[in-house]
Symmetry: D2
Subunit: 402 residues, 4 copies
């Protein structure tokens, strides 16, 4: 069973945009295997446009020539992923990552390459052509590469089967499918077809849907057809976005459960935007990063590190390797806010094993303040607590606060 707990890993988007290379991926995988794996981190995900030979940063170049095979299936550009030469695809890189005891993921856009349709390429393993699956009127609003499909056509299912079969052969463990999670209702059927192709491909692959915000009223559909789905548009190192996540977390918290996880997006921590500027560092302060990690863990969001990991400093690394905090991901349920105002928020959840109560106290105001809660509201008689970030044992009387 996949995604029994929220996936934890690294994704190349925040630090390398559309331009990550094999060398960078391998180095980050090495780092994870050595420093983070013991704490549960396991996915290495290559984000968008690994098939675009000339990508250099977070921007997309319209009408670029994409690397594809004779069936229209996008292939890693050998210019950037040398091991993909000679039709090897991501197989060599996936094997390397598996050899480290980690798992390998990729990003895809829904649909098929525009040129595959214009060239009338055949779909692998079937009797269909790409132009029969492609919907010429369905294009992504922010990326120029693909046409969406006529999801009800057998040709569309054949297309998705053909790519997921290849991903299974490559050894892919995780697919982040983009331009789809907020595209209800017109992509509702396409989500189902992708999900069915994924589950039928012969390998256990986690299916993650982007970008958000996915619509709350589609929660049951998302839970049925995906393992994770984004609840926001791209999250970056900006306090307004972080503060806004509390409202989204509140709306979605009851939908987190084994197999399906509302996704608050990546963790913009450490060295980011390396293509634009190799000395770039997250704009988040340490209290903001701690707020982020606490919220993501208490709500049981998937965790995807945005940093160039080899540059992580000790303080950031410590945030990512606090076993007491990460335990929230694995052994709790029923997380929800007790209260959230413009100034503060209090969340609670419980251990499924010990019945221990977890309380998360957040200061959402612009200045230092003590946030507290009384035992009465917590339905809790004990007067002892452990502060998880510091590890301090504390005794409190009327109110629990930080």
């Amino acid at each position: 069973m996949i995604a029994q707990t929220p996936p934890m890993g690294w994704n190349s988007w925040d630090c390398y945009g559309a331009a990550v290379t094999e060398d960078i991926v391998r180095k980050n995988a090495d780092y994870m295997a050595k420093n983070l794996k013991p704490f549960g981190w396991e996915y290495i995900v290559v984000d968008i446009q690994w098939y675009q030979p000339t990508a250099v940063n977070h921007a997309y170049i319209p009408f670029a020539e994409l690397t594809m095979d004779e069936f229209g299936r996008l292939q890693p550009a050998p210019e950037r992923f040398p091991s993909a030469a000679d039709g090897q695809g991501f197989k060599p890189l996936a094997e390397y990552i598996h050899s480290l005891g980690l798992k390998f993921g990729i990003h895809i856009m829904r649909g098929l390459p525009r040129m595959a349709a214009h060239r009338h390429l055949p779909i692998a393993g079937g009797d269909f052509r790409c132009d029969e699956a492609a919907n010429p009127n369905s294009v992504c609003a922010w990326n120029p590469d693909m046409y969406g499909t006529f999801a009800d056509k057998p040709a569309a299912r054949a297309w998705y089967d053909s790519i997921f079969r290849q991903y299974a052969e490559w050894g892919v463990d995780y697919v982040k499918c983009d331009d789809i999670a907020r595209e209800y209702p017109h992509c509702k059927r396409e989500i189902e077809v992708i999900s069915e192709a994924c589950r039928g491909c012969g390998r256990e692959i986690v299916l993650s849907l982007s970008p958000g915000p996915a619509p709350l009223e589609q929660a049951e559909h998302l839970k049925r057809y995906a393992n994770l789905w984004r609840i926001t548009d791209d999250f970056w190192d900006d306090w307004k976005l972080l503060k806004g996540m509390f409202e989204r977390a509140e709306k979605w918290c009851i939908h987190a459960a084994p197999g399906h996880w509302p996704d608050a997006d990546m963790l913009p921590i450490g060295a980011l935007r390396q293509c634009e500027n190799p000395s770039e560092w997250t704009h988040f302060s340490m209290p903001e990063l701690r707020t982020m990690m606490t919220l993501w863990c208490v709500m049981r969001s998937p965790l995807m590190i945005g940093a160039e990991m080899t540059k992580l400093d000790p303080a950031s690394l410590a945030l990512l390797t606090n076993a007491d905090v990460l335990a929230l991901l694995w052994g709790t349920s029923g997380a929800h806010p007790l209260t959230t105002t413009d100034e503060e928020s209090v969340w609670v959840t419980r251990s499924t094993e010990t019945n221990a109560l977890y309380v998360a106290l957040f200061n959402l105001s612009d200045s230092p303040k003590t946030v507290s809660v009384d035992g009465y509201s917590l339905q809790c008689d004990t007067h002892e607590a452990k502060e998880l970030w510091s590890g301090r044992q504390e005794v409190f009387s009327d109110r629990l606060g930080v």
Copy 2:
């Protein structure tokens, strides 16, 4: 501390509309004291228009002469509440109910009697007149008796202080304030003023706001200023309304906590609408009633019996006195749905004392079916369960189902 757990009681609306009499109230209180009190039931609430001498059913008579004192405060009509004669108000009735070990509640409309404003009556205990507090442009859409107030005016606060002081003197324990819970934003300030008058009146009085649906985005305001608030319009014995409650319960479930409870409205069980027809009985079937009781208890809604209780049959009484089920109201937290479709719903919650997991399985379809859930989704290893309505111990293998 009041409303530490969801209030449980009886309310006269479903069986007597605007026309309940003292004699009926006393007989129902007697019944509750004898049969229901041991299971936690305690409130006896007199609903709308106890001040209207000529009310005969659920309808309101426009421009009726309402019983009021020289300060415009509404008084129980002696024609219907004989013990209220000679300015005694609800004091004798409250004392009687207290003598049974129960608590006493009343219904009020926000605002003040229209005639009190037109007659320029003084407000008790202050320097203001009713016409200074009344807002002539604020009237209830469905009841003809009152004007709302200019809540920011000192006269409005004086008015509400004057009535809550009287309720405290009478010995009122619970006030259901109507025409207000869904009247955001124009009544937001009025809710605050009423809440402050209630909390400052010198007696602990539970404050309940009606009618629903209260707006979800006002959850924090409601939690701060009220003890309970309606999440729906009037709930009656109609399957469509019951089925629709699952969506509302899902939206509101995270906001149930000590001191503040989302309210799914009354329990239309047993003998209802007695003024219209003394042989009227709930249209709900026994499975529907069990569905209702299960949902209300798992979500921790307040419970207000709608029946003429003296006519309760053994099966209905059993539904109201299952200690295992009622225990959900007192010792659980974190209730939320795992899944809700058009066909079925599964809710879970946990005991705050034993860490026991409660699972509620609902068939929402129109035909019999088994609803089940696997242990994996429940994050639960045990294979033993107790079916609370029947009391049966059960062992299950892969899936827990009914």
Copy 3:
């Protein structure tokens, strides 16, 4: 046939609010008879709350005691209209105004006095009581005096018949009914009942509906049941409101025709707001006033002077007595804008008698500029024109401009 051309007159609102007196009305009628009548001005209209003894300015006093007869019909307050004493109503004043060769109008609110319903007064000439006609849940948002009616009840028709019969007896020629023109859809039926009562009262009475904006999609309903209706909320001496009228005029222009006229509201010219400050004068500059008069005349809006007329200066009087401009009201049709931008507007219309083309050129910008139009756009070959405000004959070549 009434309202064959747009009514022209004076209304007490702009200068005296709710507080005009008989003496003032008579003096303004005298002035009109002497100075304005030859130019087509004929209506003298007493605006809101002539039945309120204590009104002193534009404000309404909640819960005031209104002057009414034993049937709930409002009567002129003798404190302000001495000739109304002894049940004479407006008959003496109307006779005086008729003696000057003018016509007499009054303002009413839809519905009936609240106290008439609370007192259960009988309706004149029928078998109904006021509390049977009144809708206790229908109150005006800005005035505290009345309840709307249940328009479908025979009691409501009886009520409106009773008041219009009285207006006919008094000699009323024009009724401005308020709180109704923008109150679609809930007042749609009430408009019909009022219209039927008006047309069946035995006297020709122009029916004017306020306040605006009336909804454009109800144009056909308004044309059928009223003679004029407001297309804006209250219009005052504010350039933003005047500029905004161009858009409204454009939307409504095709609906102006004999018997039914979209109404751009009063002309705030000369001495205004006399209760608040006897030296108050319109904030409009002379070019703004000319813009206003030109637009109102070309679109054929009713014209109601807002000034205390006895204080009119020669320049303002000249604006109101330019026969060439006022001729637009009587002998044109098909007025519409050729173009309207943020900077300028050009309207055209034609004489129904001579086929002469009228062109109105408006500067809507904040600085002086020439606004012009070419003969081609006008479908016009002639090169001669008369500037109506100055009376100058002009010859133009390519473009007609001012």
Copy 4:
């Protein structure tokens, strides 16, 4: 000056969809020159996809190979337009049509061919490439051929200049630009660029924008940048669409003036849909056709015949050649409805030369009825009229009716 009166002509869409051929165009031009030209008909317009070699009916084939030159400019497919071979384009056909004393028009889609962008073709006469002008995220919702442009880029202006220069060289007199009139606000700037390219191309070309409904609030923008624009989606021979046109005509009527005309779309008369079925005939009855012609003429809509003209029967031909009715297009102004209900509509307009009043009486109900209007509403004293369809002189007393 172009489009001084509403253009009149023939368009190939209704009868041949995307599949018209040169032979058909020539035969229809011959017919028009002989039978319709004396009545003012002059435009022969080749509708969509003249560059698609394999089009066979009203449907579009995704990813078809379009005929284009080395600069990405679409060319008439020689398979269908033989005279276009050897790079002649539409020049020979335009010359033939001009030789008949008629004018020649073509349909275009906004933007440029998708393949021109994917192939990185140069733009004629400039320093830009098609992929620099094309917006890969802007595609038509119903046709698969083109990408829209980044209208603010110089490359976009260069593109439109390049095609309009070619149209001028071909001798095109009329361009119907599609996928744009209702695409506000995102195509607002593109409309301006197209308009500027059209007006700067060195030849007078009427610019017509499709499809509708264009937004009413953009009337001034449309009047400034286009000569005609569609006020509805495609109009076909369906009574519901015809009845619905009355509301649209009412909204737009004041915006018809020399140089800019609200366009009610084609006249589906006679033999239609010839590719699908050569014996197809309009579903409109003769009264419906007369209703259509009357409304289009009184509102001064452009007139574009949809029929295969060589099959016109005498009755249809008579509808198209009634000089009295067509005179409405040329010598009237100020058309507007007096009244429009669900049952009937009355429009009026006036001759700009004789001041004659035109009255159009429409029965919009489902059964025969007399529609009439009184002289009072018409502001008209005469009692004589001519019924234009029959030519009968009539005398009426109180009411004018048919």
